[in-house]
């Protein structure tokens, strides 16, 4: 009885989905992704990577140590910055980054949705994921530093090119299932009719676009260390910098959740029950695991690819990724026409 009440309390959607999965889960996934990125790159490059911080955990504690360092560092506010925008935008970025999670269903039952209707959930979630880069431009401008402005400019170039590709490619499932409802899209993919298998072009385009637009590591064109010091985040230090840096990982994680739902079948091989444990917590954990795998594969690419210049990245966006996304969209229309899904 008591256990059941606690379970119902935990499965209260705003608590479980936005606070526990959103903040804590995203933080954990970001930490694991950073650790895995360093460790995988080290393995491929014949090094060891983080080790001495905790040899038994493979050096995972170095991430915790880094976080403690960021939290306890002095926050320097230069005199030339626009103070309100400078201080508030990193926090706003984090909040806006988590926000799409409120419009993503992680369970087929209406009881466990954070909002009442999921009819246009894919559109709303996608629209909300495109907000944080605008705030990145704002904070680069507020820093009033030449590197920040150049970094913001690069960010705006990259997002104009790749957000378009991401939105087009992630909307392809909506075209093939004739619905913007994520629950309907996931249920259409039961049990293994996953859209990543049926429509690999759109999946590849979405993967590429997310990798580029969230500036995953070899493609961190806006904040590239070798060219512009830290891009839009040059003037930031301490916890504000950590918020900015973590924001990118959390944004990638949110995108990965959307990709896991619409392309990788969400909770697909599993049919959720009705009670909070089998109906909400297990499906959401399945989605979390799939999203983490997407994030880790993205992190692994750091070890393989080299850096792209801005013009090369934009060239690849307009000449390669956009046609790929359009082809994927066309392919999903064909899928819908032939009643394959």
């Amino acid at each position: 009885m008591v256990l059941e009440t606690i379970l119902y309390l935990i499965a209260y959607p705003p608590l479980w989905q936005v606070l526990i999965l959103g903040f804590v889960g995203a933080l954990l996934v970001a930490m694991v992704a950073i650790w895995f990125e360093r460790k995988a790159a080290a393995r491929v490059q014949r090094r060891i990577g983080p080790y001495w911080a905790s040899p038994r955990l493979g050096g995972f504690m170095i991430i915790v140590a880094d976080m403690i360092r960021y939290v306890t560092q002095q926050v320097i506010i230069p005199t030339t910055v626009d103070k309100i925008a400078f201080l508030l935008t990193p926090v706003a970025v984090l909040v806006v980054t988590i926000l799409p999670l409120a419009f993503i269903p992680l369970s087929p039952h209406e009881l466990y949705w954070p909002v009442a209707s999921m009819e246009y959930s894919l559109l709303i979630a996608l629209a909300l994921t495109t907000l944080p880069p605008l705030l990145t431009v704002v904070l680069g401008w507020a820093s009033s530093n030449k590197f920040s402005v150049i970094g913001s400019l690069r960010e705006s170039y990259v997002i104009t090119a790749y957000e378009l590709v991401a939105v087009l490619a992630i909307l392809a499932p909506a075209a093939s299932t004739l619905s913007f409802n994520i629950v309907y899209i996931v249920e259409a993919q039961q049990p293994v009719k996953w859209l990543a298998i049926l429509n690999p072009l759109a999946f590849l385009a979405a993967f590429l676009a997310v990798l580029m637009s969230t500036s995953a590591f070899p493609f961190e064109i806006p904040e590239s260390e070798h060219e512009v010091v830290a891009g839009p985040y040059t003037e930031y230090s301490g916890i504000l910098y950590a918020l900015n840096m973590g924001g990118g990982y959390i944004r990638r994680f949110i995108y990965a959740i959307i990709i896991a739902l619409v392309f990788l079948g969400g909770w697909a091989p599993y049919t959720p029950g009705l009670d909070p444990f089998t109906g909400f917590i297990i499906p959401s954990l399945i989605v979390l695991v799939k999203a983490s795998i997407v994030v880790l594969v993205m992190s692994f690419l750091r070890a393989v690819y080299g850096r792209y210049r801005l013009d090369q990245a934009l060239d690849a966006a307009w000449r390669l990724a956009l046609p790929l996304a359009l082809l994927g969209l066309g392919w999903s229309i064909i899928l819908a026409y032939m009643n394959l899904i």
């Binding site: 995988a40 393995r43 491929v44 490059q45 014949r46 090094r47 060891i48 080790y51 692994f300 070890a303 393989v304 690819y305």
Partner: protein
């Protein structure tokens, strides 16, 4: 007047098929190394390299053989070795103290070239077969005349296991445990 920028564009090599193929090849190499890593990092205090006997490591000084010619200090290319003047008891005239010069070494500067050992006319300097330049402070790296005459300790030997580096035909430089 702003500088005129001219963009240089290279002709694309290969077509779409070539691009897909090379990307897949790169990913395959990455996955191969990820599954079977061929690491060559030396985990320092837990492992140490066993060098061959003629290795030019730390330099040890034998005071009794030294004739104070200062050839070692003069040949030193990085000016790591210096002569110090010490007052000591003359064995022939015990009642009369004499002044003599002896070399001391600074491991902040030493490049372990071994010229001082080669040039010493009385073989008063010799190499140890190891070179663990690990000190707690920079000041410890200046050896005094007394410390220069002792063989330096090697903390990694007491803690770690020996390894050797070998060149493999296929895998390149590899580390192997003894």
């Amino acid at each position: 007047m702003p500088a005129r920028v001219s963009l240089k564009s290279l002709k694309r090599r290969g077509g779409l098929f070539e691009g897909i193929k090379s990307n897949i090849q790169a990913l395959a190499v990455g996955v191969k190394y990820f599954i079977d890593p061929q690491r060559s990092t030396l985990l320092y205090p837990k492992e140490y390299i066993e060098h061959r006997p003629g290795y030019r490591g730390f330099i040890v000084f034998i005071k009794d053989k030294c004739i104070s010619c200062a050839a070692c200090a003069r040949i030193c290319p990085s000016a790591a070795m210096k002569m110090v003047r010490v007052t000591e008891v003359d064995p022939k005239h015990p009642d009369k103290p004499r002044q003599k010069q002896y070399p001391v070494i600074n491991y902040q500067r030493c490049i372990f070239c071994g010229y001082c050992v080669d040039i010493c006319p009385t073989e008063a300097l010799y190499h140890t077969p190891f070179q663990d330049v690990v000190y707690e402070s920079l000041a410890d790296m200046f050896l005094t005349l007394e410390a220069f005459q002792l063989e330096p300790g090697r903390p990694s030997v007491s803690e770690g296991s020996p390894v050797v580096y070998e060149v493999d035909e296929e895998r390149g430089l590899i580390k192997r445990r003894r």
